[in-house]
């Protein structure tokens, strides 16, 4: 009888310990996941603040097929180089007759050049200037009243020119 009682007590203790360990494990898992989530969210929020740009210059020239709009954008953030597929140019073009059109294109889909390309050749690193050309087919330069340029960086920075 003494042996049976001890066995029963041991089984009960093991069961209780198992439940306790499980609760502790689940708690640790949840705290760990929460910490990871908060860290990820903070990291995402800080990226757009660090990935900054400035529209330095916008110029328009008449070309044979229409109008070419040249935009120079400086990568003056502290994030990293820009992936051309993830940086976008938005153009708001107002014509003298009052009509307006809006275009959007990624830098990768447009002719581009990197000025001051000293760090990684062909890549717009921080401190370098990305020149993008947008061709507006069939338009006349005299019909364009205003051009607004919006540049969206890879991680959510926005600059307007």
């Amino acid at each position: 009888m003494g042996f049976s009682t001890s066995l029963a007590s041991a089984l009960l203790m093991i069961t209780m310990l198992e439940i306790f360990i499980m609760f502790v494990g689940i708690s640790i898992d949840r705290v760990s996941e929460l910490s990871e989530r908060l860290y990820s969210a903070n990291l995402i929020d800080s990226r757009s603040l660090m990935d900054r740009c400035s529209v330095i210059n916008v110029s328009i020239s008449a070309i044979a097929s229409g109008v070419a709009i040249y935009v120079n954008v400086s990568n003056n953030g502290s994030m990293q180089w820009w992936d051309y597929r993830k940086v976008y140019l938005i153009l708001d073009i107002l014509f003298i007759n009052g009509s307006k059109i809006s275009y959007m294109a990624s830098a990768a889909s447009l002719p581009y050049i990197v000025f001051g390309d000293a760090i990684n050749p062909g890549i717009a690193d921080p401190g370098e200037i990305l020149g993008i050309e947008y061709s507006l087919q069939g338009a006349y330069i005299d019909n364009i009243s205003k051009v607004r340029v919006i540049f969206s960086t890879q991680y959510g920075g926005v600059c307007v020119g």
Partner: protein, 152 residues
């Protein structure tokens, strides 16, 4: 006298059986709670990793607008799940209540914005507003909303 050990034996066996049963019930509840917590955590995680930025609002004319948004988060964003409200500043209404239409599209022609992509939400309303400034408010799938103003 011989019956006492038998009774005690039966009681011990019964105790073990009841303890095992209770342990089983508790363990199954713990697993159930763990499963629910996991689901809540993954939903919260998806919400935390969804970041959308309202880049620019273009008033093409008094009834046509284009809202440009960027997926600056980690997870893909379905643009068709973004609610659009439009109107005079401070009194925006859902686009469906105005009889308007919304047509979201990315450069690749999809409604899904991948990480880093910019998409355009083309907004058309039936009649123009009696205001010189139009406000467009976007409500993202994670509940966050942003607005921008433009002048047709």
């Amino acid at each position: 006298m011989a019956s006492t050990p038998i009774v005690e034996g039966i009681l011990i066996v019964a105790s073990i059986a009841i303890a095992s049963m209770l342990s089983g019930v508790v363990l199954s509840k713990v697993y159930s709670i763990e499963s629910i917590l996991s689901q809540v955590a993954s939903l919260e995680k998806a919400s935390a990793l969804t970041r959308i930025k309202f880049v620019y609002l273009s008033c093409v004319n008094s009834t046509s607008f284009v809202a440009y948004i960027k997926n600056s988060g980690i997870l893909p964003v379905n643009m068709s799940m973004i609610d659009v409200l439009i109107g005079a500043p401070g009194s925006e209404k859902p686009i469906w209540s105005l009889g308007g239409s919304v047509y979201p599209i990315s450069q690749s022609g999809s409604q899904i914005l991948l990480q880093g992509e910019v998409g355009a939400i083309n907004i058309t309303i039936q009649s123009s507003f009696n205001t010189s400034i139009v406000s467009v408010r976007l409500v993202y799938p994670n509940g966050v909303s942003e607005y921008s103003l433009c002048s047709p």
